[in-house]
């Protein structure tokens, strides 16, 4: 597991973002990426059912990630709903569409958030969808317990601002390009180095706490998640036999 370099910010979010903001459970709007996907597969809108009933299908669920109509991406001056901005071009589109454009060019992604990130029910698709959009790390002031552990389980790095610091005190807008350094020799609760390069070429450097709380969690992260860790162990056992 190497450093994260050249990352872009997909969303900047405020305090108390819930798992329902991240992965809504309710109706699938026709015009949303998930709705359009279902239509392309010949599903009629009256048969859309809900996000909740489509948890067996990652294609629907990843298109529904950060698609809550009440989520506010603070990079977008007051626009409500699941939108993001593709940088450096500056086009605004659905979160899914923007994430796929970044993916196509190989750009890793970050989310920046406030306090109590991921509160609410322990919805695992909030972490699965985050991973599938190509988000490598979430940098927040604090995390809700279960969602943090789910992020680690999916191989997404939870990073915490140091006490007293946050997006505002550091002057971060989400328009910067980020490097996250020191991930090669991770250990529990390690301080890692974050470098944010502004559009004008200036740099903000700060430290953040990697919220991998135990050696086991460090292993999960290094292996890319829980499922991968279990697979790896199984294959190693098979070789040993």
């Amino acid at each position: 597991m190497g450093d994260i370099r050249g990352a872009r910010v997909l969303l900047v979010l405020g305090d108390s973002v819930t798992t329902d903001h991240i992965s809504p459970a309710g109706a699938i709007p026709v015009k949303s990426p998930a709705g359009q996907y279902l239509i392309s597969k010949g599903v009629k809108p009256e048969d859309f059912n809900s996000y909740g009933s489509r948890r067996g299908n990652h294609e629907v669920m990843m298109r529904g990630t950060f698609a809550n109509i009440r989520i506010k991406n603070l990079m977008l001056d007051g626009i409500e709903g699941g939108y993001a901005k593709k940088l450096p071009e500056g086009d605004v589109d659905f979160v899914y569409n923007v994430a796929m454009r970044y993916k196509a060019e190989g750009t890793p992604l970050l989310v920046i958030a406030g306090k109590e990130y991921g509160t609410g029910s322990s919805r695992d698709w909030a972490a699965k969808g985050t991973y599938l959009l190509g988000i490598k790390a979430v940098l927040a002031e604090s995390f809700e317990r279960i969602h943090r552990s789910n992020l680690v389980g999916m191989g997404v790095l939870p990073l915490e601002f140091l006490p007293g610091e946050n997006r505002e005190t550091l002057g971060l807008t989400g328009y910067e390009v980020y490097d996250i350094l020191g991930l090669e020799d991770l250990k529990p609760r390690k301080l890692v180095e974050v470098v944010a390069r502004r559009e004008d070429g200036s740099e903000v450097r700060f430290q953040a706490l990697a919220r991998l709380d135990t050696p086991v969690e460090v292993d999960y992260y290094k292996n890319g998640g829980i499922l991968q860790t279990v697979l790896l162990h199984l294959l190693q056992e098979a070789k040993a036999e």
Binding site: G52, R55, H58, S122, I146, L227, L231, A238
Partner: protein, 676 residues
């Protein structure tokens, strides 16, 4: 495995010698005062002792938890659980992930058959059945058939899982509700496992992908609901990480008065605990009142832990637990093991043992103060004493929506809509009961309230009463054991006479699968914008959950559900005699003086016997044959399972994949892998 504290010992029982980790040894060694720990914390501590490996579970983890204090501070617990339960809504994604892992292993040249749940997992299909047909003898078969029709693709996937995966069992649709199946059949209370040539005995424990998993806490089994990733991790042998919680000691004393039921008790407890605040805490019940509660009553209380907000509502193993194991036909050797083991390790509740325990917070309730109650119209914690329900409902009609009212104007209150049918016509008003459902894991597992409902139905039929034509009735027992004892006691025909035919074995109305209202009723509700009501013996009633046409939803005991039938309106349930067998319940014409189920609180062994339990549970893994799809092809790969957009597998395993988006072109669920 390590054994830093040398707690491994052996135990003699009727069925032979078992190894076990003796918690009391820690006290003898002066490590910690185990006898002062809440029972639920002791169960967690045993798991650490048994699973100490110096990596996932360390000596320090054991010491930290053994020294749990009423103000626990930050103690991280890597808890290894004995098993996992799943229901079909949440279980499908888990099976899809396991299938994805198999494919990943196969692509790396490994043997896909090595991917299996490490910890045994049972999936009970109970969430999909809807009440399409009701009030007729063929309702059950019709609804099961519709269920298979709608869910064919998902069920074929589960069937594949059942055939291909080891350590994974599927209980088919039409069998029962997962939590009751767990209580009656799956839960062992004390489990055994072969390790290094020794058979170890240890406490049963689990996580489930459903919030009401806590029901099994009534049987002294540790467990609660978790999200899918966590359940998958546990299934794959990973620990469940949690902070050691505060434990609230809830003392029960006295005895329930005549006429009050387990449902009334749990609604009262929910109200008390919501006010106190128990989110993130365990609640453990103790005191002389606990011994007066049947196991079914305890299970009802444990079931609603998510409604009162606690992680668990725990009843330690005691004499009543052993009685229940006997009643449900568990083998005598198991019952002996449960008794011998729990007594040896200090997990058996006695007055002396519970007196030593220190809790974080204390609450108490005199059971004799519990009165017949309902909860509603919008939240489970809003208990209304039965005698106030009419006034409360009327007040809610005009209360602003912000105060959980319906915000009607005075002018709208008198609204009536005439419904004309071929052979009858009737008026619907605000408060008309359009759904009466005996349903849910919370109550339908409890013989006292189910037989009570049957007795009330018998009296009503004998008094010549009938169900109003606008009420959609349904009976969805938690398991076939219930139907058996209603049949054996001769009460089922009376419930059916009031159109309470069995519609299915599943969650049904309680999770919103109430099915549509009859067209003319739905039209009338829309036309008059009527606040019509549902009354159900369920656990949740948030607005819009039960049925889109029904705004007021009341949780009540099965008896109270029956009592609404011949009145047909909420406003007619009135004091002083809610059980009166007359259409208007006016006291002067009341034909009974008290609740007719008086004698059913403690059902004799007659209607429900160990042998009838064994017959029903034997059917558990067979289910109903109605509409069952033909078995899918056998084999360890997923080829041959159908392809449709409701289930696809995961591109999570990027480093195992070909490094591109898209599907691998395999038939089946088009497993795809990606490198985001």
């Amino acid at each position: 495995m390590k054994d830093s504290f040398k707690t491994l010992k052996t135990l003699e029982t009727q069925s032979g010698t078992y190894g076990y980790h003796d918690l009391t040894e820690l006290e003898r060694q002066g490590v910690a005062e185990v006898s002062r720990l809440p029972f639920s914390i002791r169960v967690m501590l045993e798991s650490l002792l048994r699973n100490e490996d110096g990596y996932q579970v360390t000596r320090e983890d054991i010491e930290a938890l053994a020294r749990w204090q009423p103000e626990p501070g930050e103690i991280n617990v890597p808890l290894k659980l004995a098993r996992v339960i799943l229901q079909d809504f949440t279980g499908v994604p888990a099976v899809v992930d396991l299938a994805a892992m198999r494919d990943a292993v196969a692509k790396r040249g490994g043997d896909p058959k090595r991917i299996n749940p490490v910890v045994p997992a049972d999936l009970v299909i109970d969430h999909s059945v809807q009440v399409d047909a009701f009030g007729t003898a063929y309702a059950f078969f019709y609804n099961v058939e519709k269920e298979y029709e709608r869910n064919r693709e998902r069920y074929l996937l589960l069937k594949w899982g059942q055939e291909a995966l080891e350590n994974f069992r599927v209980v088919p649709p039409g069998t029962g509700i997962v939590h009751q199946v767990n209580l009656e059949y799956l839960a062992k209370v004390v489990m055994t496992e072969k390790r290094d040539g020794l058979t170890l005995a240890f406490p049963d424990s689990l996580v489930g992908t459903d919030s009401h998993t806590t029901m099994v806490n009534g049987l002294g089994v540790l467990g609660w609901g978790v999200g899918g990733i966590e359940a998958e991790a546990v299934m794959l042998g990973q620990p469940y990480y949690m902070l050691a919680p505060k434990v609230v000691g809830f003392k029960l004393y006295g005895e329930l008065p005549e006429g009050a039921t387990a449902t009334d008790l749990v609604l009262t407890i929910t109200e008390i605990l919501r006010k106190h605040g128990v989110v993130g805490k365990f609640v453990e019940f103790y005191g002389p009142g606990v011994s007066k509660l049947s196991l079914a009553d305890r299970a009802t209380i444990a079931n609603m832990a998510p409604e009162y907000g606690a992680t668990m509502g725990f009843f330690p193993v005691d004499e009543e637990t052993l009685n229940y194991l006997r009643l449900t036909g568990r083998p005598e050797e198991l019952i002996d093991l449960v008794e011998t083991y729990t007594k040896a390790v200090g997990l058996f509740r006695t007055p002396e043992a519970e007196a030593k325990v220190r809790y974080s917070e204390y609450l108490e309730l005199d059971l004799s103060t519990v009165e017949p109650s309902l909860a509603g119209p919008k939240r489970p914690q809003d208990r209304v004493p039965l005698k106030e329900v009419k006034g409360s409902f009327l007040a809610h009609l005009t209360k602003p929506v912000k105060e959980r009212g319906f915000g009607l104007s005075e002018a709208a209150l008198g609204k009536k809509v005439l419904v004309k049918r071929q052979d009858e016509e009737f008026e619907l008003t605000h408060g008309s009961v359009v759904i009466a459902a005996i349903t849910s894991c919370t109550n339908t597992s409890n013989p006292s309230v189910m037989l009570g409902a049957g007795l009330l139905a018998k009296k009503a039929v004998e008094a010549g009463l009938d169900t109003k034509p606008w009420v959609k009735t349904s009976l969805a027992p938690g398991s076939k054991v219930v139907t058996d004892y209603l049949e054996n006691s001769g009460l089922l025909p009376f419930l059916e006479a009031l159109r309470f035919h069995v519609v299915g074995y599943g969650c049904t109305t309680c999770i919103g699968n109430s099915g549509p209202l009859p067209e003319d009723i739905a039209k009338a509700v829309e036309e008059g914008d009527l606040v019509v009501a549902a009354v159900l013996s369920g656990n949740r009633n948030f607005e819009g959950r039960i049925n889109p046409h029904v705004k007021a939803n009341y949780l009540a005991s099965p008896m109270l559900v029956v009592a609404t039938l011949w009145r047909g309106a909420w406003t007619l349930i009135s004091p002083p005699s809610p059980w009166a067998l007359t259409p208007t319940a006016s006291p002067s014409t009341s034909r009974t003086s008290g609740p007719p189920w008086r004698k059913s609180r403690r059902p004799s062994a007659k209607p429900w016997t160990p042998s009838s339990s064994r017959r029903s549970t034997a059917r558990c893994l067979r289910g109903t044959s109605a509409g069952r799809p033909s078995p899918p092809p056998r084999g360890s790969s997923t080829a041959g399972t159908p392809r449709a957009p409701t289930s696809k597998t995961r591109p999570f395993l990027r480093s195992w994949a070909s490094g591109r988006w898209g599907t691998f072109g395999e038939p089946g669920f088009s497993w795809s892998w990606a490198t985001p």
